[in-house]
Symmetry: D2
Subunit: 390 residues, 4 copies
């Protein structure tokens, strides 16, 4: 079941780590550590194998994948050995990463992008292509009436002035759906979260997933917050500081993306505790940190007879190394869901996201059970299920 994975932002750190990682595992040069779908519990699900994935993508930059991989090796994100050993395979993947095609309006842009997807699928004889957005975070979207209905949207997309109607992530979702491809948004951007796009997905019978891969601080929150809830300990304050560099950090130092990211990060507490403790989540750019992130969270809580206590944690992680295996997991799970006849929002993938679609639980353990049930259902269950968007 050869499956295409089309990465929007295909030259970024996460994309290159995912591609190199899949190649390295296939070549026996690395273990699939961090790949959730390789756990025994999920082994029985009918997913495309890691070795059956073929990569392509769009990107606005033109740094070759090999160069990017070497740069990531120099800063310790990627191991030097596999980068050297797989130069040829990276160069092959290189040929499938293209610039965004120039267009006079968003309708044409989408059509050209969809054509890229179709050509990719055809040339590689792929069973399907899953589009995954790993581009930089966008600011929150200004509402527009045309977002509400597909016909209005498509009309507006044909207007020359409609170039900013859809943000890049939503344009990518639109193009994917048009081409009959499932779509996953690994970022907090709008992506498929517009009623008009949900209509299109339903009509084209394709599933979609999102939002915002849960890789570090929020991952820890999604187990610590339920712990306090289960123990009936009252969280008084939860303050977080995230220091990160890299392209992601630079982008998040701009107010719009910063606010979008912070909003995405803040969901878990309210949902798992049932109330919002005091405290902010800060994201600060620290250029020198490169692709590494350090987060510090301080939690103060109240126990029996009002006794105040505290826990703080410091997380030092490499976002690309945490995100890349999840990108592979999501591509495989979404491909299988599509094969299985699923369309619309894949709320069962909440395990992977900071801001999951629908009314999914935010506690990691509950999300894990949902995922396991979902994977079991892919194996045994009969057929199509549709979920509405949030």
């Amino acid at each position: 079941m050869t499956t295409g994975v089309w990465l929007v932002g295909g030259r970024g750190s996460v994309a290159v780590t995912a591609v190199l990682g899949a190649l390295a595992v296939r070549a026996g040069l690395a273990e699939p550590t961090g790949c959730v779908t390789e756990l025994p519990r999920l082994a029985g699900a009918p997913l495309p194998a890691l070795g059956e994935l073929v990569f392509g993508g769009h990107d606005v930059t033109s740094v070759p994948l090999v160069k990017k991989a070497q740069a990531l090796a120099d800063t310790g994100v990627l191991p030097a050995g596999p980068v050297r050993a797989l130069e040829e395979e990276l160069a092959a993947a290189e040929r499938e990463v293209r610039p965004l095609p120039p267009a006079r309006d968003q309708a044409e842009a989408a059509a050209l992008m969809a054509a890229d997807l179709a050509s990719f699928q055809e040339r590689h004889r792929l069973r399907r292509v899953v589009v995954v957005n790993v581009a930089t975070t966008e600011p929150a979207l200004a509402p527009h009436p045309a977002h509400a209905r597909l016909d209005a949207l498509e009309e507006a997309m044909r207007e020359p002035g409609g170039r900013a109607l859809l943000p890049p992530s939503s344009l990518a979702a639109y193009a994917a759906f048009r081409a009959g491809c499932p779509f996953v948004d690994f970022t907090p951007s709008t992506g498929a979260r517009l009623p008009a796009l949900h209509q299109l997905a339903a009509r084209r019978r394709v599933p979609y997933g999102g939002h915002d891969g849960k890789t570090g601080e929020t991952l820890v929150k999604s187990v610590l917050a339920p712990m306090f809830a289960m123990r009936n300990l009252r969280v008084r304050t939860w303050s977080g500081t995230n220091l990160l560099g890299g392209g992601d950090g630079a982008n998040l130092s701009r107010p719009g993306p910063n606010a979008a990211k912070a909003a995405s990060k803040s969901k878990v507490l309210g949902e798992t505790l049932g109330y919002l403790p005091q405290g902010e989540t800060r994201i600060d750019y620290l250029e020198d940190a490169g692709d590494f992130k350090t987060a510090w969270d301080l939690v103060t809580f109240e126990g029996f007879l009002g006794r105040r206590m505290r826990v703080d944690f410091t997380w030092h992680g490499c976002d690309s190394a945490l995100a890349a295996p999840l990108v592979l997991d999501l591509a495989r799970l979404t491909a299988a869901a599509h094969e299985h006849g699923r369309r619309g929002a894949l709320t069962e993938l909440a395990f992977f996201f900071k801001d999951p679609l629908g009314s999914a639980p935010h506690g990691l353990a509950d999300q894990w059970r949902l995922l396991c049930d979902f994977a079991d259902g892919l194996r045994t269950g009969p057929g199509p299920v549709t979920s509405g968007p949030r």
Copy 2:
């Protein structure tokens, strides 16, 4: 359903905090923060109310409860207001905390302890008495052939040289079972974990629970370790340092209890990860810390393509304030299990323990589900179930 709670170590910090807390909640002076059985999810279970609990206990020391409570208020463990307001009620509880009766052998000691339990039950017209061990941690027990069979045990207990045959926690369990009382061990001590005592519990149709209340560092471990497992991230090292004072800390500074406690703390990693990462769990006595504990844990782990990452956390908690509400929870749940006809090991209480009985899961979320099912079963299910000891 007035229920007795007999605390072995009834003058210790945990016991006094539990007693004062129950009194304060009853009097409307405090919220039941930290009491798991007061969560909405468990509200429907047919448990004795917090206000229906009557307290007594054994202790080797003779510091009056009021004095101890005032001392705990001076060091910030207890709030000063309720301690002042509830002096009279504490004095009433005082009358039911007795010294361990002197005896010529363990058989007689157990008989006298059982008589104390019977007298307590009769005088207060209690539906039943649950015995909870909150005394100091004992060293690991030296094996003895008489531990294997009840008849052999009882014979050996009558020998004058048999005084050290059972450690205090097991003698308390024996006496409880003899008196028809359920028993809970909140410490890592041996308690009911001897085949002979399991036979006695089965014969007397009483349930028992344990071991070692999970209040701080291990609680956090029981959510963090499953997080790594669910994400297929390989934990390379997990090192813990616990600094604590108080009577508990002083006792744990002795090699025997220290080893017993460290063994209990180490269970969660192997069980939830499926392998043992490198690293030790240290427990160091720091007199000046009093009833507060600071734990620091460093976890290093490996992600995609071998990338090393790390998280560390610092926990600053008050053990008595964390333990006391769980003691009340356990007394109430065990009483209800007894009422419901359960006997033998209550493996479903794993949520509360570092080293749970039987083959219970060690991840907190799985333990929570087990607890919820257990509480539901108390409400709806029919009758007696027996579990074997570990």
Copy 3:
């Protein structure tokens, strides 16, 4: 040598802690822990004794000192015992804390404030009165031509529109100098840092000190940064997060004071390292933290052959308990300097400040030597020295 200490912000946490502390030490109820001038090294300096200090002050609020002290005891800032024992003495101090007198322009306001100082001095027969500003942090001051020369300033102060010409801290400094009183600014506010006020201090032959008491995170920085410098280790990034509540925190959550405080906190790195590492110092308001502050600093640095390393620290302190003894130290040292004939900026007090006057060193050890030499000079040296303002 009975000495008056006039606290601008006399009903705030720092002021009340300083007053209660001085009373408690005098009464033998507390040790002078945290008082630098009580160290053996400085014992020989001819300072007014702690017991010889008499307190008064201005404040815009009217909460009685006893009430404030009880509130601080309830949240653990002050010990309950001394607050109870010293109620009478606090009530006596109460009578000397007055509202800011209403006035039609700043000239009249200053005259009335100076009259309060004179009356205080006369009634208590004080050798002198030292004015210490412990009021809330002000935003940075907008420049005005009249700040440059005393005559222009005094003319402008008489204009009815000139009410906002001087910020409260500078008005207090002006009033102090007018009354012949030394002035210390324990905050980052402008205080005496205007050429016109320096002229006045020089003319009135009074010394002044500042700025911004160094009590926590910056104190640690002032020893860690020199450590890196002395070891030729290159600091790459230094990121700080300060979480604090209380009135100080609420005020610092406003952009103006926040920027002023952050600027003050940032001085130490550039001065001790000789370059500015990447990274921000954040100050976030966390109401629930009350008078306590938690700061987290992450420092990454480069060693031999480019090897990157890191250290982070978490400081959990009570600002009032850290600041109050320094306020007493400063009052005593400044009184002695005045006695000794010093006038103008007391740059030798850099040890106490985040943003010291003049070109003083920022490393704590160098500041300590400067302080010791200064104290020695008070004892042995002859006479007047003048320093220019920054």
Copy 4:
């Protein structure tokens, strides 16, 4: 002034890092970051230049320097580029690292070692050779009467049963002094700290320095502890945990070396505070940590009116990268001292050591001043000074 540096433990991580680093700086491939003697303040001292150092050494292992350097590059201790570029130079250094010569007694062993030193000096026409011990930590030495006097020692060294009379570090010191070479002990081992060896150093007119390079946790302690002292804040507890791997960690997991190291680490608190706070310093072996060390220290202290506060820090460093430049500094400074006529204990080098010789101060700032004065004296001062051993 070409100077030999003879490294006892010449194939270990510290030695290889020092050699590679000196070569890399000489070749313009690296900055001398971490080299204290390269700071402007010390630039005027008449030291041999980094580029004038020639390396040799003894070691019991036989892993070639190039291999060791590559292994250190693989684990991120050394940068890969310079290791590749300097293979030839490392191979040249290789030829001067020899096994310890076999001998029938310690007298002969010392003579053979001294001959190696003499041959090294002669072949490279070195002005002098400084011997630096960077071998693994030894257990504390059992006292022996022959340690007290040189003649008794030399007699005992000739006995066949006297093989264990001197530990390796002291034997190396003896051989160095016999060969007229200065000696520096970078470890907590005994080294030259025996009266008999001091006599020999004095007689041979050579200086020596030590003990135990201050590279991480203790370095931070040596600035934090004086901070508390200068502020009259009472440190109540200071607890440290050190997790480290590598050969050093493995050796320190043995009780003898562990105790010796912990003793060395504990000096700074008592000396700088004037009292010993509660708390232990733990050193735990964590194989997976390799040449990196993580230390966590928790300090609780008391401020004004008994208020308790706390600070903790986490240090994550690479011991070799921290130690190696100090080894170069010490070799250069000791060479210059010898040139200047100094003999006996160089107490002025306390800045570099956890457990400095003589009655040197333990606060880093005081040690820095001592070092600066010492360096100034080398430049300007006339001649020989002798210090006694501790």
